[in-house]
């Protein structure tokens, strides 16, 4: 018996269409980026960047729906076989988080590679370090700081909505709502420790590309990113997963 592996397999069997669809959509975004051919290189740079930003937003929405499928499963009673199993609730939640986060990460790296390629076609010459920052480090940073806690939050919300017939543990509802406030206290708490933690130059690739087109400073991109953001996102995700896991164990069906 290996609950984690089995649940990861179940998630893949259930959601592979979403995952493959999202990755294949990168081809579509590439086509859109290629089709932007009019205007000065600076204009095309801005337009292409906006298209890729939109691709990131669309991807995030699709990932949220992918994680939110749990609600439909609970309504149909398909997950009863999972709820009745002795596998702990947090394992169920982590496996439901792992696939969309993994797919989201790959998708963001794909967007980073498209961005690098598109900038190259516009005549930008980035060094290896900048390319790695642009195509790998920055997308990974976004995946950890934004995608990971956002999808954990989606799962907690779905669990909360599905568990409206919550038994005896009404206090969990209050905790869940508190944690759900958009500006989490964890962030502000961790950020006060920032000056003790190292900073990173994950945005160096983006700023280098902007410099190539003489647009440095025209789009507000931070020069450095803080470790506090990463630590905060991971801690927040752990808390959200814990709460969603407890709800999983308490939900009535």
């Amino acid at each position: 018996m290996n609950g984690f592996k089995t649940l990861l397999w179940r998630e893949w069997r259930s959601a592979w269409g979403w995952a493959v669809g999202l990755i294949v959509s990168l081809g579509g975004w590439t086509t859109v980026v290629i089709s932007i051919q009019t205007g000065q290189p600076e204009d095309r740079f801005i337009l292409r960047t906006l298209v890729l930003f939109a691709a990131g937003i669309v991807g995030m929405i699709i990932l949220a729906f992918m994680a939110g499928r749990l609600h439909q499963e609970m309504k149909r009673g398909e997950n009863r076989i999972l709820i009745l199993s002795p596998v702990r609730g947090w394992v169920h939640i982590v496996t439901r988080l792992a696939l969309p986060v993994g797919v989201g990460w790959a998708y963001l790296i794909g967007l980073g590679i498209i961005e690098w390629w598109a900038f190259g076609r516009l005549g930008a010459h980035l060094g290896t370090a900048d390319v790695l920052q642009l195509a790998l480090a920055y997308p990974s940073f976004i995946a950890i700081v934004f995608v990971l806690p956002s999808l954990a939050w989606v799962l907690l919300l779905v669990m909360f909505v599905s568990a409206f017939r919550l038994s005896r543990l009404g206090w969990l509802a209050a905790v869940a709502m508190f944690v759900g406030t958009p500006t989490s206290l964890i962030y502000s708490g961790v950020n006060t420790l920032d000056h003790h933690l190292p900073t990173w130059h994950f945005t160096a690739g983006v700023t280098a590309a902007m410099r190539e087109f003489g647009m440095e400073g025209s789009i507000p991109v931070p020069r450095i990113v803080h470790s506090g953001d990463i630590v905060g996102a991971i801690l927040l995700t752990m808390l959200l997963v814990f709460l969603a896991g407890r709800l999983w164990e308490e939900v009535e069906g």
């Binding site: 290996n2 609950g3 009673g77 009745l84 002795p86 009535e252 069906g253």
Partner: protein, 226 residues
């Protein structure tokens, strides 16, 4: 003692699911949980499975709350709840990974006995899906088996197969509770019958005692609840 319910009440809003229910379930019994629609049969099974928590009173399985003993409880719900993409092989993989007491070899035997086709659940008939779910439940080495309407909406041939499998899987160390409307067909299964009416226990009797009085379970059902 496999399971017990002491003064259990379950409220849905202001409506009673069950009311002051007391029930003890020793090992080795096949119990028929009988009653008309809305009598509380499903609520009792879900309380024993840990899918519901009582509003008041206590439910215990092997001396602990049911949720602490999920590994020893096999529940077959009335509602069809299989992933549409899942075929019998997928079901085997899922059950083997989630339930430590699942016996794959027994499961494959049951699939043969119950004639479950090797297609996705989405392509199966209602009876085939129920037979697949029954095989998944019976292939476990649980101590408490809870079956909610295993014969509901099933054709006669499938009913026969399901009943034969239930009889063949009987074990002295386990307790089986079957909630059903199909009283006449399944009455030969029961050692004991529990009649519920509007959430309250109205009769708890041994089947052989009823027979000794010259009554069938079906006749008693009609007499008590009719």
């Amino acid at each position: 003692m496999i399971a017990a319910m002491r003064n259990v009440t379950k409220l849905y809003g202001r409506n009673y699911g069950v009311r002051n229910l007391n029930l003890t379930l020793p090992a080795g019994e096949v119990v028929g949980l009988l009653g008309v629609n809305g009598s509380g049969k499903t609520t009792v099974l879900k309380l024993l499975a840990g899918l519901l928590v009582p509003t008041s009173g206590e439910v215990s399985v092997l001396g602990a709350p049911p949720r602490h003993n999920r590994a020893r409880i096999a529940f077959l719900g009335e509602t069809d709840a299989l992933y549409r993409w899942m075929n019998p092989r997928d079901a085997e993989r899922l059950m083997s990974g989630l339930y430590p007491d699942f016996r794959p070899a027994r499961y494959r035997d049951l699939l043969d006995q119950l004639r479950v086709p090797g297609v996705k659940a989405g392509a199966m008939s209602k009876g085939e899906r129920m037979r697949l779910r029954l095989a998944m439940s019976l292939a476990r080495d649980a101590l408490l088996y809870l079956f909610d309407e295993p014969l509901g909406g099933i054709d006669l041939v499938s009913r026969e197969r399901i009943i034969r499998s239930l009889v063949a899987e009987w074990r002295t160390d386990a307790t089986v509770i079957v909630a059903t409307h199909a009283v006449a067909e399944s009455e030969g299964l029961f050692d004991r019958v529990v009649f519920l009416d509007r959430g309250e226990l109205v009769l708890d009797a041994r089947a052989e005692d009823l027979r000794a009085q010259g009554k069938s379970v079906r006749a008693t059902f009609l007499e008590v609840l009719g």
